[in-house]
């Protein structure tokens, strides 16, 4: 009887120790897992920014002036993510109890990671006529922002892009001043409901900072045939000359197209 007591006690202690050992091991693994996940999330975001840059998609997202900011941030994020991993591994003994999988940690890491992964997988797309209708103030000829960034008066009319035409017209709107000017512009087609069926808008989005602030500008084109032959959102290169169209209540400038060629969407679809 007296001998069994210590042995029972010992067995209990042994079991207790084994339990603690397992718990510690589990905690260590959990700590390691969280550390890897934390670091991976930050690295994944840095890599996503660089992925957009290297894949040529950055031009769809932001104004080229801020390219370097995004690239720099991508590099710094990767370094930070690796730094967190390195620093946690080094000070392993000090921190484990600070790393609990709280609901906020789960939620925030989940959101960050899933958006980063979606960013790799989902395609980006240049904006089309849907957004143009959503964003335009009606006629595509007014500038949403007052101050033009570049403005060249001496430009040869044949070299003007859509945005140059719209800016010029905003400064000096008299249609007769441009009568007979040669036109060479490219943009995507918008079948505006306000136009007759033999006309469409040739349009481009203007970007100031990022895709969130794009707004469309465009010029009406008098087509050689019905606009159904020129599908909406397809990019075209339009050549022709400026004519003045008179309707009951206004006189406005229209491009009389002599040649309308479909072209592939440019890598950098915005005007600045």
């Amino acid at each position: 009887m007296t001998r069994e007591h210590p042995s029972l006690e010992e067995r209990r202690r042994l079991r207790q120790r084994r339990r603690e050992y397992r718990r510690d091991r589990r905690r260590r693994w959990q700590w390691f897992g969280i550390t890897l996940l934390d670091s991976f999330t930050i690295v994944a975001w840095g890599a996503l920014l660089l992925h957009y840059w290297l894949g040529g998609d950055l031009g769809l997202l932001i104004h080229p002036a801020y390219r370097w900011l995004t690239i720099g941030a991508g590099i710094v994020l990767i370094v930070t993510g690796l730094g967190v991993l390195w620093s946690r591994l080094r000070s392993q003994t000090k921190m484990p109890e600070a790393l609990q999988m709280t609901w906020w940690r789960q939620l925030s890491l989940g959101i960050l990671l899933s958006v980063a992964i979606t960013g790799y997988v989902a395609p980006l797309r240049a904006f089309t006529s849907d957004l143009a209708f959503q964003r335009s103030s009606g006629d595509f000829m007014t500038l949403a922002r007052a101050q033009p960034q570049t403005f060249r008066v001496t430009q040869n009319p044949g070299d003007r892009a859509i945005i140059d035409w719209v800016r010029t017209l905003n400064v000096y709107p008299e249609p007769d001043a441009y009568l007979g000017d040669p036109v060479n512009v490219s943009g995507f087609a918008i079948h505006s409901p306000d136009l007759p069926v033999d006309q469409m808008m040739i349009a481009q989005f203007v970007i100031t900072c990022c895709a969130a602030d794009v707004y469309p500008v465009g010029l009406p084109v008098l087509l050689p045939g019905d606009r159904a032959e020129y599908p909406q959102d397809q990019w075209f290169e339009v050549s022709g000359e400026m004519v003045v169209e008179e309707t009951s209540d206004e006189r406005r400038l229209v491009i009389a197209a002599t040649d309308v060629q479909p072209i592939p969407e440019p890598e950098d679809p915005y005007a600045y």
């Binding site: 975001w45 801020y66 900011l69 979606t118 980006l124 240049a126 904006f127 103030s137 969130a212």
Partner: protein
């Protein structure tokens, strides 16, 4: 499907443009947290309310903190004995009046420089006014949560009574208990503020702080960008325009949005930018001025310092100031 892709592209563009600014803000605030000791700083703060309000409101240039980083700093300033005007001025102005936020706002609104200038002017004016108003309250404790009030150094609490003249018994007196509590709290705050001497340890804390802020603020940024992209693409233009073109409704809508979305002030200008074509300038300004001072997230944090009553009063006054100021912009400046 097409509008879903547009929404995703818009969402990603907001994130890609805003992330660098978030990163710069987080890195700077983490670095300052472990490099600058505010205690040396509090000693030469002006005691005059107006000077204090102005000084506090421009401290953002020294501690560029967005509205998540500024509450802990303001709390530390208060406990270390900074005058009320300084602490309140800092609390309300620092998230807007600091170089990173001004740079980000300039990036977004290059074409409307008046928005950048008015954002700074309005934020400064409102913060200074609020700081002056609240510093007229002599006993600061009335405004604060009891735990913070107890931790205040005697000199700024306004209780000028000599300790021997205070009522109550000296054996189990409330004064004594309060002193113990205060000491305990001050120790806790000191521990929180402790900057480790060892460089390695300091770097470790810097990285941990950076990671944590990036994770938390990044998540809020993602949610905010998702809301902005959804509104932009899926809500019919007529609804947005009818709301956004009214001089009064546009301001109210943007102020409600600012309070709910809780997006960090470093990146909120990009959020506002996506409404630039459809909302009045006054409304955009209301979003940019109001959001950094009052939002759900910030109120949660401010409750750790101020009594609910104080915050409600602040909320009421700031709402009125912002509304009237931006209404003036809508009617007379644009």
């Amino acid at each position: 499907m097409s509008s879903l892709l547009s929404a995703f592209t818009l969402f990603m563009s907001l994130l890609v443009e805003a992330f660098p600014f978030l990163l710069i803000g987080v890195l700077l605030s983490s670095a300052l947290r472990f490099l600058v000791d505010e205690r040396t700083f509090v000693r030469w703060l002006p005691q005059n309310p107006l000077a204090g309000a102005l000084a506090g409101s421009t401290f953002g240039f020294l501690f560029p903190a967005c509205e998540c980083g500024n509450v802990p700093v303001a709390r530390r300033l208060l406990i270390q004995g900074a005058p009320t005007s300084v602490a309140i001025g800092f609390l309300l102005a620092a998230p807007t009046v600091n170089p990173i936020v001004i740079w980000a706002t300039w990036t977004a609104f290059r074409d409307q420089p008046e928005i950048v200038v008015l954002r700074v002017v309005f934020s400064l004016t409102i913060s200074v006014a609020m700081a002056l108003l609240f510093s007229s309250q002599k006993d600061l404790r009335a405004l604060l949560q009891p735990s913070i009030a107890n931790a205040l150094p005697q000199t700024v609490t306004g209780s000028q009574q000599h300790p021997l003249l205070q009522g109550g018994t000296y054996v189990l007196g409330g004064t004594q208990l309060q002193t113990f509590e205060r000491m305990a709290y001050q120790t806790a705050i000191a521990a929180e503020m402790a900057i480790p001497d060892e460089l390695n340890e300091r770097f470790h804390l810097f990285l941990e702080n950076t990671f944590q802020e990036l994770r938390d603020l990044g998540t809020v940024l993602i949610l905010g960008s998702a809301i902005a992209a959804t509104i932009q693409v899926f809500i019919p233009r007529e609804i947005i325009l009818s709301l956004g073109q009214g001089p009064v409704t546009s301001i109210v809508a943007m102020m409600v949005l600012a309070a709910v979305v809780s997006i960090c002030s470093t990146v909120d200008s990009f959020f506002a930018l996506s409404f630039a074509g459809t909302f009045t300038s006054g409304a955009l300004l209301a979003f940019l001025v109001y959001g950094p001072m009052i939002d759900l997230k910030a109120i949660g944090m401010m409750l750790s310092v101020f009594k609910a009553r104080t915050i409600f009063l602040m909320f009421l006054l700031i709402t009125q100031f912002t509304f009237l100021g931006t209404l003036f912009v809508n009617f007379h400046l644009s």
